[in-house]
């Protein structure tokens, strides 16, 4: 069982992480680097000068081998970690009679995105560098609590069999956003809203693709490793 979980998770996680990091470097990183020009004060927008307007087209620099290489490594690590959690959950579901394969793995992937990316990001939006934000530890605590609540909620929707279970699931999904995430006392972000909005949209988009791939590949490798080890699939 250990071998099957770890092998499936690492293959799926590493492949997903590699693709996700290339998507991030292509679509998210230029927006992040653009924002950093404002974070560092190199560019200042809004009324600081009488003439005002700053060109939306800036040279944000190209590839930085060390920085981007580290990004690739860490993206692969994070999705390998997510892969371990997802495949462990798949193993649990299969023990309880669920069928796991690449196709329904895509549903697992979408649910994973909802749990780990959309749920916390719904109130604690993906942050472009330079935004005003509350204390990082408070935000992290809220992030983990929200992801945990969403994970239980989504599991109860998928595998619960009563209105009580579904009701609890709805509460768990909604509660963190009613309570609210730690927010800054004042808005001091120097980055134009256009960049912040594009950053959040791109972060969500790449996240959805990555989770879809993670679920797809986790389901595929889980089923294949099971066949290789002679484990029987429940019909």
């Amino acid at each position: 069982m250990y071998t099957r979980i770890v092998t499936s998770a690492l293959f799926a996680g590493a492949a997903t992480g590699l693709i996700a990091s290339l998507l991030q470097l292509s679509f998210v990183q230029p927006v992040l680097l653009h924002a950093e020009l404002y974070e560092s004060g190199e560019l200042v927008h809004f009324g600081a000068q009488a003439s005002g307007a700053v060109s939306a087209h800036q040279d944000v620099g190209g590839i930085d081998p060390l920085r981007d290489g580290l990004s690739i490594v860490f993206t692969m690590l994070i999705y390998a970690g997510y892969g371990l959690i997802m495949v462990a959950a798949m193993a649990l579901a299969e023990q309880r009679g669920a069928r796991i394969n690449a196709r329904n793995g895509m549903i697992w992937g979408i649910c994973g995105f909802v749990v780990a990316h959309l749920a916390p990001g719904f109130t604690l939006a993906p942050e472009v560098p330079g935004v005003a934000a509350a204390d990082v530890h408070a935000r992290q605590a809220w992030w983990f609590a929200t992801v945990a609540a969403a994970a239980v909620g989504v599991w109860l929707i998928a595998f619960g069999r009563s209105w009580l279970a579904w009701g609890i699931a709805a509460l768990l999904l909604v509660a963190p956003h009613v309570v609210g995430a730690p927010q800054p006392d004042a808005f001091t972000g120097p980055v134009p809203t256009e960049i912040g909005a594009l950053f959040a949209a791109r972060a969500f988009g790449v996240g959805l693709v990555a989770w879809l791939l993670l679920g797809l590949m986790a389901g595929h490798f889980w089923q294949r490793e099971g066949q290789a080890q002679g484990a029987t699939q429940p019909a």
């Binding site: 069982m1 250990y2 979980i5 770890v6 998770a9 990091s21 991030q24 998210v28 990183q29 992040l32 920085r67 981007d68 580290l70 990004s71 860490f74 993206t75 690590l77 994070i78 390998a80 970690g81 997510y82 892969g83 371990l84 959690i85 997802m86 495949v87 462990a88 959950a89 193993a91 649990l92 023990q95 990316h117 916390p120 990001g121 604690l124 939006a125 993906p126 942050e127 472009v128 560098p129 934000a133 990082v136 530890h137 935000r139 992290q140 992030w143 950053f199 791109r202 972060a203 969500f204 790449v206 996240g207």
Partner: protein, 56 residues
């Protein structure tokens, strides 16, 4: 012999491997995505922002 058969039975259907693997996964996500130690934070900075984690 006894240990071996126990280990085999445990590895066939037990909850233990599932819990252990999920915890390792959680640990990896925590270290790579959330620990604030300087060098780790700098190395993972761009990824943390792009993945929607609270960063700094």
């Amino acid at each position: 012999m006894n240990t071996q058969s126990t280990a085999l039975a445990g590895s066939k259907s037990g909850l233990l491997p599932i819990i252990v693997c999920a915890l390792i996964g959680l640990g990896v996500v925590f270290v790579a995505g959330h620990v604030q130690a300087g060098a780790l934070h700098d190395a993972a900075h761009d990824v943390r922002h792009a993945t929607g984690f609270p960063c700094h």
